[in-house]
Symmetry: C2
């Protein structure tokens, strides 16, 4: 079953009860998943207008431009949306590590035999 | 600020109030983001045990192995988890289109000038 939201040209994000959609950022050059975060309508608009990934921080309860303090911004090369418009995929050019731990990607650990193995 | 959940070797997913974490699947060969979905503890365990991506369907309220009816399973090459353990990244080998619309990826539309442009 499809709908105009699923196939049409109209940007019509399906925000959840908290007014959010999920956003995933990948390195446009390598395809590596860098981070997952959330966006409200304002964050999505700011991202598209500025060309720099901007999210809604659920913990801080405010708009949050990635890298606003660290300088590690994510420059948006391309923004895509999924079929039911509740998730956005940003292909980005990262300016520095995406993770607050200093790792290039937040996904720096592999799940193996029920444990986590960090990248070298 | 970091914690053992963020840096340690223990798999300790941070499920939300509904018992879910977010999962993103990318094509292991191309890096393309194929789909986003959710997992509860049972879905994560089933994914790791079977090697095939299994999610929790919020709309159907049940465990859902991707491709269980279509045959378009996502064979897991590698599973990773992010710093705060509320998101999983599956690098997969897709057996057929990931999207129910027949598109290879659910993210078949680009956001451009406030509108959506479908891939050719």
């Amino acid at each position: 079953m499809t709908s105009s939201r699923e196939t049409g040209p109209t940007l019509d994000p399906k925000y959840d009860a908290a007014g959010l959609i999920t956003a995933v950022a990948t390195d446009a050059a390598t395809g590596e998943v860098l981070m997952l975060a959330h966006m409200n309508a304002e964050a999505l608009a700011a991202t598209m207008a500025s060309g720099e990934a901007t999210f809604w921080s659920r913990s801080r309860g405010r708009l949050w431009k990635k890298g606003e303090t660290s300088g590690h911004v994510l420059r948006v090369v391309e923004a895509r949306i999924d079929c039911d418009q509740d998730a956005v995929w940003l292909r980005v050019e990262p300016h520095g590590p995406a993770c607050h731990t200093g790792a290039r990607s937040c996904f720096y650990r592999r799940i193996k035999d029920g444990r986590l193995v960090a990248d070298e």
